[in-house]
């Protein structure tokens, strides 16, 4: 049982409320991914719903932003999404994680954390795709 890390550092995980962080760590254990890879997967899942986003990394976040700990393509898509939606770019991280944990939520404030087998299966598929890339 080895955890596969991708490229996210610990800043996003450390910034999460306790209940959300525990849920991410549970998904990490169940899917044999690192917690940071689960966060990246949640963002990829959320941003892929918006087919208007460019698949090229055209914008990157400043080093002080939590977004800067993400791979360039996710940074770029999160920034594009934030501009189109007229919300702060860092709020995109919260929307994505909340949506992954509870699709009936909007932010962490109304997120009723659930650990779903379908989401674990999706994460395992995501891990395989990352490993094959």
């Amino acid at each position: 049982m080895t955890s596969r890390t991708i490229s996210t550092d610990e800043r996003i995980l450390d910034s999460l409320p306790d209940e959300i962080r525990v849920a991410i760590e549970t998904y990490a254990n169940e899917s044999e991914l690192s917690a940071n890879a689960v966060i990246e997967g949640a963002l990829k899942h959320f941003l892929s719903l918006d087919t208007s986003l460019s698949s090229e990394a055209t914008n990157t976040a400043e080093g002080t932003s939590l977004l800067s700990s993400l791979p360039p393509i996710l940074q770029s898509q999160a920034i594009q999404y934030a501009k189109q939606t007229e919300i702060p770019a860092e709020l995109v991280i919260q929307l994505a994680i909340a949506h992954f944990l509870d699709p009936d939520s909007v932010t962490f404030d109304d997120c009723q954390v659930k650990v779903e087998q379908t989401s674990i299966a999706w994460l395992k598929q995501y891990a395989d795709e990352v490993a094959a890339a």
């Binding site: 939606t85 919300i87 709020l91 929307l95 699709p103 909007v106 109304d110």
Partner: protein, 121 residues
Amino acid sequence: MTDSVDAINAEALRILKLLEEVPFDACCPLTREFAELPPRPGIYAVKHKTQGILYVGKSGSVKGRFKGGHKALGWAFMDRLDPDDVRIAVVVLSLQWIRLSLQLDQIIIRQLLPPYNVRVN
């Protein structure tokens, strides 16, 4: 100001009016991909052509919420409703209302008592 009870109530009723008044033909039809739904935070209504609003909900991505399957559509199926007579209306939430989506959703549901929300509760 935004957080005042009066302001939240007023915004909830504005959203409810929009959901009720949008013509059925202008709502999003049911498809596998729900391509017409916005991948944005919003409040949505599952509407029937003649019975009106069946269910009201919220999500950080309305498109994502339906792509993953939705119990309201399952109930519509079991109620033998024609899929062509069921569509989805959406009001996208602006930044100032995103954190108040739960309150907005609850006010709208209390006001309207959509049959499929009542079934859940």
